[in-house]
């Protein structure tokens, strides 16, 4: 089963895809979200979220600023003010 992952910036819906796992830099420490995670909301510090498309695959880092993460039964949604290159 896959985790539904969405990355949204004010300008547009940056990414919506099914992934295996996402590691998120929470303001009180990093955490990883797999499919079926308990409902959770957290503010993020500026840093890289890492997206693992499949189990054991190489992680893809995306730098975000001003982020907020919400996990519910629909999946993981990250609202970021900006994606740094």
């Amino acid at each position: 089963m896959a985790l539904k992952f969405e990355l949204v910036t004010p300008a547009r819906l940056e990414r919506a895809s099914d992934v295996y796992m996402v590691t998120v830099p929470g303001s009180e420490g990093d955490f990883s979200v797999l499919e079926g995670h308990a409902p959770f909301m957290a503010t993020l510090r500026n840093g890289a979220i890492t997206v693992y498309a499949t189990q054991g695959s190489e992680g893809e880092a995306i730098n975000v600023e001003g982020g907020f993460a919400e996990v519910n039964e629909a999946g993981l949604t990250i609202l970021a003010e900006r994606i740094a290159d």
């Binding site: 300008a11 547009r12 308990a38 409902p39 503010t43 039964e73």
Partner: protein
């Protein structure tokens, strides 16, 4: 009656005006498509943020510890009107309508004994508001050098407004902009942005307990300023689309008017030419008969 030469000159000049308005209309149509796409692309973020803020706000409620952006200052004396305008004209009554909406609200508030100040974004609204409410513009945000107004500008404006709020410069803020309904219809609207209007209560989802990190109030305190920013951002985008829509309609009308004028002038020109020829013929014939 105007001479033939004069008529010809006027026809040429109206024709070149028509060319300009036609080009401006085409440009507006192309820009409108882009602005509309931008407004649409911004929707997911705003929707999700609003959802989260609504669910958090119902949870935190109006407790004393609730952030001031939500609970307000406890007073209702000083209102700030944030008016979003464009920098260019040639868009019909677009800017005038926004200013009118803000003006009506300001009169209404003043009649109720409130103090009113203005925060202007964009160039076009300034002269009128300055004349109607001299000395009440406390801040002006320039957008002249910016091609596409975007999130960075919204954040700047929002930061300034929030700072003023924290400093106690006003109690309630309203945002005025033009809502984009269609290319033909734009609606100047006002909405309250500070304190954040109490959102409609949302139902708990499936009864699952949501964990928060840090706690609800800290997250809410973090998200509320963003909500203000996103409202302003939405206003800017709607405004951009509306401006192009209004501009397109205005330029279409101008092009059509120019067309009508050209037709009228052409008829007049032909008539005068015919009259001149007839006169000449009569002169020649009567000259020949006299011999």
């Amino acid at each position: 009656m105007a001479s033939l030469k004069e008529l010809k000159g006027r026809i040429t000049s109206v024709k070149s005006t028509q060319k300009i308005t036609k080009a401006k209309k085409m440009v507006a149509a192309a820009k409108l498509r882009k602005a509309q796409a931008a407004a649409e692309a911004a929707r997911p973020y705003a929707e999700r943020l609003e959802g989260v803020v609504a669910s958090l706000a119902t949870k935190v409620g109006t407790a004393d510890s609730a952030p001031r952006l939500l609970s307000g200052t406890g007073k209702d004396d000083h209102h700030l009107l944030v008016v979003l305008n464009s920098d260019r004209g040639l868009a019909g009554a677009f800017n005038a309508n926004i200013v009118k909406a803000a003006r009506d609200k300001a009169y209404e508030l003043q009649a109720a004994g409130k103090k009113v100040s203005f925060f202007l974004v964009g160039r076009k609204g300034r002269p009128v508001i300055n004349r109607l409410f001299p000395g009440q513009i406390i801040e002006h945000y320039e957008t002249t050098g910016i091609r596409n107004v975007g999130f960075d500008e919204a954040r700047d404006v929002s930061a300034q407004v929030s700072d003023m709020y924290e400093a106690g410069a006003f109690d309630v803020a309203h945002l005025f902009y033009s809502k984009f309904r269609s290319a033909l219809l734009q609606e100047a609207t006002g909405q309250q942005i500070i304190p954040v209007p109490a959102p409609a209560a949302v139902e708990e989802i499936g009864g699952a307990t949501v964990e928060y990190e840090p706690d609800e109030e800290a997250i809410l305190a973090d998200l509320l300023p963003r909500n203000v920013t996103i409202q302003i951002f939405k206003g800017l985008l709607e405004n951009a689309a509306s401006e192009q829509g209004a501009s397109m309609t205005a330029m279409d009308n101008a092009t059509r008017n120019a067309g009508d004028l050209i037709n009228r002038l052409t008829v007049e020109y032909n008539r005068s030419r015919q009259a001149a020829i007839t006169t000449e013929l009569v002169e020649i014939i009567s000259g020949a008969e006299a011999l």
